[in-house]
């Protein structure tokens, strides 16, 4: 799981172009949207694309992203349960 968490952090940084952020800067339970990293609705869409590309998970409803992308931990949990790649 730790490996997946680190992998997800690196992907978030790359896909969302967070130039100044290191994996260590992202707390596993910190909110990603609104406060915390301050991501927005476009970032959520990018993460949906990343989910399909890297893990073969198709998220059809954009509003489902709210719960899935709450924090790195919720993402890791969702990926480990649903990945097809």
């Amino acid at each position: 799981m730790e490996e997946l968490v680190l992998e997800l952090k690196k992907q978030i940084i790359e896909v969302l172009n967070l130039e100044d952020v290191q994996p260590d800067d992202i707390d596993n339970d910190a909110p990603l949207f609104g406060e915390g990293l301050g991501l927005d609705s476009i970032d959520a869409l990018e993460l949906i694309v990343m989910m399909e590309k890297s893990y073969g998970i198709k998220i059809k409803d954009p509003s489902a992203g709210k719960d899935i992308f709450k924090s790195v931990n919720t993402m890791a949990d969702f990926v480990s349960k649903n990945r097809t790649k």
Binding site: E19, D20, E46, E52, K53
Partner: protein, 330 residues
């Protein structure tokens, strides 16, 4: 009675030293067929979190806009109007490339969202929380001129009191090679193909203005073009770029203005669809100083040219011609 219109501030990011008029004293003389703009340190101007999705064209547009708002003291212009020939071509290509090579699945929304031409004007407005008139023109080499015309009309009519007018174009290496195939840029003997970000703040206020805008017009044909009387002009500023097909019309039109010295600018600022924005930026500062440096004179006379009233001519494939008449504020 129409309102007078002034340029209160103007800046650029281009082949020359960014956000500066240093080029008037020690210009860079570009020689490459293709060269990208000199960028400022974007971190001095933009929040990295907010600008992380932005390509160069967007960052430059936001910076030049911010600078003229600062310089003019107008932080909430009543209009934000942009001209861009190719729009955000880098993001357009990224999306198109993905589409062509990888197919129609899992495409990056950011590329699409940042590819639309009006992203530039919108982001400026979002940054400034500016609810005023907002639009974008894209008409090849008269894109900036169209934006300027719109602002000028509204100011003249008294519909608005201030307008931020910007011209922005970027040139990626791949799109340069595409356009080179068409003969538009990258040809032997031609000025450097480059990029442009020019921002001008126009208003109805004369205080501390760089110059006055007397008129802006666009024409489809040069045959019936009425030019101002030669005796009333100190110079005509043209967009010659070393290509005979392009330069011919400029010389023909300038030739109708007997004894009016010709100035040129693309040997300093390069060629792009919004190079005329850089020409207008330069003209404003030349008029403010009351003179054009010798290296802008086409006649090779090695003495600065005194300036009070200047006509700038620009055309797009000899098809669309713009005339911009500017004068000093003395």
């Amino acid at each position: 009675m129409s309102q007078k219109v002034y340029i209160n501030a103007a800046t650029h990011i281009s082949l020359q030293q960014p956000l500066s008029e240093e080029w008037l004293v020690s210009p860079v003389m570009p020689t490459q067929p293709y060269q990208r703009s000199q960028d400022p340190n974007f971190r001095d101007w933009l929040n990295p979190l907010q600008s992380r999705r932005m390509g160069k064209i967007l960052k430059r547009a936001l910076v030049t806009a911010q600078k003229v708002m600062l310089d003019s003291g107008i932080s909430q212009p009543e209009a934000v109007i942009t001209g861009t020939g190719l729009g955000c071509i880098e993001n357009t290509e990224l999306f198109l490339d993905q589409l062509c090579r990888e197919g129609e699945e899992m495409l990056k929304p950011t590329y699409f969202m940042q590819s639309t031409h009006n992203t530039i004007s919108s982001l400026i407005a979002i940054q400034q929380h500016c609810h005023g008139y907002n639009t974008t023109y894209s008409h090849k080499s008269v894109s900036f001129d169209s934006a300027l015309l719109d602002a000028f009309l509204q100011l003249q009519l008294g519909d608005i009191k201030s307008a931020l007018v910007t011209g922005n174009d970027e040139m990626t290496p791949s799109y340069f090679s595409i356009l080179q195939r068409t003969g538009y840029i990258g040809q032997p003997g031609q000025v450097t193909a480059s990029e442009a970000s020019a921002a001008l703040m126009l208003s109805a206020c004369r205080d501390n203005a760089l110059c006055e805008v007397e008129s802006v017009t666009l024409h489809s044909s040069h045959s019936n073009l009425q030019l101002p009387p030669s005796a009333s002009l100190d110079a005509v500023l043209v967009g010659t770029n070393g290509m005979p097909l392009n330069d011919r019309l400029y010389h023909e039109l300038a030739g109708r203005l007997a004894n009016v010295p010709i100035l040129h600018y693309k040997h300093l600022f390069g060629e792009s669809y919004t190079a005329s924005g850089l020409g207008a930026y330069a003209a404003a500062h030349l008029l403010h100083r009351g003179m054009a440096p010798a290296f802008m004179r086409e006649d090779g006379v090695d003495v600065p040219l005194p300036l009070h009233r200047l006509l700038m001519l620009n055309h797009s494939d000899s098809h669309n011609i713009s005339c911009l008449l500017l004068c000093a504020c003395s």
